[in-house]
Symmetry: C2
């Protein structure tokens, strides 16, 4: 890998922002909140853009990517923006095929069915993902100066799962089988992914991302023993090699059984879905910031239910320093935008009274 780029020093307005303080587990005036998929199908402005460009093209057009990301942040009043991108883009830079099929989600071709396939894939050339860094740069430039921007990618395990299962498979059976039957090829594949991810995430930070979220969407298919054997060593390397001062947010779904193993890679923030009680998560994870975890379907309910559910999440967090409010997963298509705004306002108001 080429020499890591330089990370720009953090202006005070960003450094002292609610979101960055919470990532460092410092006291805040109110709980910061942002939402996974906050720029998405549920929002009219996003659908209007998507009528003109396909999903992948939107990721590849920095000016449009910045537009949808910034529009969402401003419309909702959330405490952080997130670059408009996808967790799997790095797979193309490794030589795999990647298509987004409407209504089906991503489909990976030229992936991995045998050890030789894993050898054929190359370490991602970070320069091939320049359009992501351009999107980061343009989004950063257009966001308010006190609103941090989050860069991101899929995690090594989840990327490997898409390479091996070919799509989002509920149980990732082929992936679990591959790692067991070909432990050496598995290890080499994850090393390759980590090398590519290091360069990719460094460059996002150098281009203006103040935090980096690592989406390990599928890692919850593993138990703690398998996680520690097949994933943790690689996650340790990745997190250790990310730039200092740029918080790593490590997010997965269905991870209630492995949270304590996941924090062993020492991310600044751990993201949990709505199946884990926040208090129980802290009891197991110890000194780490936690992001989450309102059930996305709550946003379809009436205002009183939304307010009560948000308060329940805040009550589980119980004012501990280091809570970043989020959903347990992404905003669902069809979610009423007014309800999302209500949630953001509720979190701010309710937490400032606590």
């Amino acid at each position: 890998m080429s020499k890591p780029p330089t990370i720009p020093p953090l202006p005070a307005a960003l450094r002292d922002s609610r979101f960055m303080r919470a990532c460092r587990r410092e006291p805040v005036d109110m709980t910061p909140v942002w939402l996974m998929r906050q720029a998405g199908r549920y929002m009219k402005e996003y659908r209007d853009v998507r009528e003109k460009v396909a999903f992948k093209d939107l990721c590849r057009r920095p000016e449009l990517a910045a537009e949808v990301a910034v529009t969402a942040q401003k419309k909702l009043g959330v405490d952080a923006g997130i670059v408009f991108s996808d967790i799997l883009l790095i797979l193309e830079a490794m030589g795999a095929g990647l298509e987004y099929v409407e209504g089906e989600g991503p489909v990976v071709s030229q992936g991995v069915t045998a050890p030789a396939d894993a050898e054929r894939l190359k370490v991602a050339d970070p320069e091939a993902l320049r359009y992501v860094y351009d999107a980061v740069r343009q989004t950063r430039a257009a966001l308010p100066p006190n609103v941090p921007l989050i860069g991101f990618s899929g995690a090594p395990f989840t990327l490997a799962a898409y390479l091996i299962d070919g799509h989002g498979a509920r149980e990732a059976e082929k992936t679990r089988l591959f790692m067991r039957q070909h432990p050496d090829a598995w290890g080499a594949l994850l090393e390759k992914l980590v090398k590519g991810l290091t360069g990719y995430l460094w460059r996002q930070a150098a281009s203006g991302a103040q935090a980096l979220q690592i989406f390990d969407t599928w890692v919850g298919v593993l138990g703690p023993r398998d996680y520690r054997q097949y994933v943790l060593p690689h996650m340790r390397t990745l997190v250790a090699e990310l730039p200092t001062g740029v918080p790593a947010i490590y997010f997965g779904t269905g991870t209630a059984g492995i949270l304590d193993a996941m924090v062993e890679c020492e991310p600044e923030v751990i993201g949990v879905d709505s199946r884990t009680d926040l208090g129980a998560a802290w009891a197991r994870c110890g000194a780490v910031a936690i992001q989450g975890n309102l059930d996305s379907t709550v946003l379809f309910a009436d205002p009183a239910t939304i307010r009560r559910a948000a308060q329940n999440v805040l009550d589980s967090a119980a004012g501990r320093p280091g809570h970043v409010f989020n959903l347990g997963h992404g905003v669902l298509p069809g979610t009423p935008v007014d309800n999302v705004r209500l949630l953001v306002d509720t979190v701010h108001e309710a937490s400032s009274r606590m």
Copy 2:
């Protein structure tokens, strides 16, 4: 509901069997083992039968259902048989449509999209499922006299999830949304399911099932607060109404975050998937027998790996009374039968040395 049928007294050979003793958390000579989907596609004898009859027809033909169940038990040497049936059959008896699409799994039609649909469904007439009781009777008659037979059904939540989402949906979003938007209709639907299930499971026990497994395959999509609000009251009623002396095994996947809430319905045995460490599960669940939890993909590995992985599960159970060895989920198609036999022998041998 009509008056519950009478449960036959338990012969000593069954009462004192390894499996029944473990369900009651009594000491055993070696850890009992059976495997979810032990009669299935991976087994040649099963495939031979399925070449002649479709899945649903096999469930409806007691002599064939008994044949595949008994063949599997004898071939593997497992400590319990399980009636050949499906978790969703009760839905037909409620007025919903049910088809099994090859390669896709079950598809439910005339299900629930609005509260009125839930009202339209009737309490299952237990007599409509007479073919299941016939299968139980014939399987019981053909099993060795010291090998208990397990009857089963889907759990109220998982049945409702199939009615509402229409198929096995990874996140069961429509279901979570329905229960939140229509709490009264949700409650009435689950009450209806519980009433039907009570009659259905009682009759399986009366026909010769010594234990009853309640498959809550999808309940892991809920967090503990939602589980306690929307599911637990109904599960409590169901478990309380099952016949005394017939252990209830309550199984779900992805339940690491809600195990302590699940045991509050007081089943004799709780089934956990491979994502939860058994020792951690016991620490959270307290005085209950636990069934599980080898990862199904391990059965594709080499003998040494299988032995080591089985030993790891036994080590996590650590000789606590009340361990029923099983997989974390069903035996996968393509699993080598010899490996399954090796697993059963390994569990018996290794646990008798502990």
